[in-house]
């Protein structure tokens, strides 16, 4: 009887030991490099935007592995493998240039008109909204110095509740193809923002939100 219990114990222990490396691998999240002009983004030795610490430029659309985030989520510690050379680089990249979904092939945006005719207001459309398991995001304005409008309804013609600058944390509670309905944990406000201005938060152990501790 004792021998049987002991064998069972060691069998379970062996299974746990074998499972550990697999769970560590599962905690590494993949994201993709994105930029507003289709150009590559610097991988740096340290989480600092100085000119003298660039390791390499990672191309638009490249897949990178997230090890952790630092500086309140502004930077990610990542690895990237340059496939043709099979060389792996490790360093830091600003999280505003990372996205969970594979970015589309870059297409230059339509140039804005200097003095356009006033367009018809775009009415909000809720038809395709679906609830999601809430997940945390940070705001990613189209230019790093700018802000994104947190609106009453999903239309750029709708009034603004507040303006959110880069890295402001929000929580997505519902979404359609273009818009997210979000809750602001700081104020409790609920509003809408274009999904293209949001980056999903990656947790400290490298896994996407929902499986670890947030770095805030």
């Amino acid at each position: 009887m004792n021998k049987r219990i002991l064998s069972l114990f060691f069998a379970v222990l062996l299974l746990v030991i074998l499972a550990l490396p697999m769970s560590a691998l599962a905690n590494t999240a993949s994201m993709y490099v994105i930029s507003s002009n289709g150009k590559g983004v610097h991988l740096r030795e340290k989480p600092q935007a100085n000119a003298d610490n660039v390791i390499i430029t990672v191309p638009y659309g490249a897949e990178v592995d997230i090890l952790s985030t630092v500086q309140s989520g502004q930077w990610a510690h990542i690895t990237w493998t340059d496939d043709p050379n099979n060389k792996t680089y490790e360093g830091y990249m600003m999280t505003r240039y990372l996205t969970q979904e594979i970015p589309p092939a870059y297409k230059a945006p339509q140039p804005a008109q200097a003095q356009p005719e006033k367009a018809e207001p775009k009415m909000p459309n809720f038809a395709n909204f679906k609830l999601v398991t809430p997940y945390n995001v940070i705001v990613r304005p189209s230019k790093p110095s700018g802000f994104v409008n947190f609106r009453w309804a999903p239309s750029t013609d709708c009034k603004v509740i507040m303006r959110c600058y880069a890295n402001y944390p929000l929580q997505v509670i519902a979404q359609d193809g273009s818009w997210a309905q979000l809750r602001d944990p700081a104020t409790g406000y609920v509003g809408f923002m274009l999904r293209s201005f949001l980056t999903e938060v990656v947790t400290e152990n490298g896994a996407p939100f929902g499986s670890g501790v947030l770095v805030y």
Partner: protein, 177 residues
């Protein structure tokens, strides 16, 4: 006696002149990194207060008159435009940049202006019925520098108010080492 009165008057006059000169606001120096400093001339009647949040500076310019719109000055590094200044961009690249800057606008209009030192400025104005704000944006050695302003109430910004925001960036000097 007359001599002493004259001396007293001259001294009082000198104090008034020097006192007025001392009240002129000295430019605020913003150190972006060891090789770049931005010198900002704070408009009369405004108080400047700013902080770095990691790689991003946010500064408030609060007017003494509460009816006057406040401004926000922001400076942030860009990796996709690393080392690039707005004047280096081709016409197509500038048009793309303007479109990107106006991505969250409902009804944008824009104009191109310049600083006193010749650096281009993008003046973006939101013209929708639901919102009103203006952003003046430039790009210098890979850093976005912008000023934003919105009205204190539900009205539209006036041309004079927008001119103050444009002037803030126009008077800005980029000092490189």
């Amino acid at each position: 006696m007359k001599k002493y009165l004259s001396i007293l008057l001259i001294c009082l006059l000198a104090l008034t002149v020097f006192g007025a000169a001392a009240e002129e606001t000295a430019p605020v120096e913003i150190k972006v990194h060891d090789g770049l400093t931005i010198s900002v001339v704070v408009p009369e009647g405004y108080t400047f207060s700013g902080n770095w949040y990691g790689e991003i500076l946010h500064a408030s310019l609060i007017p003494a008159d509460p009816a006057t719109p406040a401004m926000v000055l922001s400076v942030a590094a860009s990796e996709e435009y690393g080392g690039v200044t707005i004047n280096d961009l081709s016409e197509d690249e500038l048009n793309s940049l303007i479109a990107v800057c106006a991505a969250d606008y409902a009804s944008p209009s824009y104009a191109i202006s310049e600083t006193t030192h010749g650096t281009k400025l993008i003046v973006l104005d939101e013209n929708s019925d639901g919102d009103e704000y203006v952003e003046i944006i430039t790009l210098y050695q890979g850093y976005f520098v912008q000023v934003s302003m919105e009205p204190t109430d539900e009205t539209q910004l006036t041309a004079d108010q927008i001119a103050v925001a444009v002037q803030l960036l126009s008077d800005m000097e980029f000092v490189t080492k």
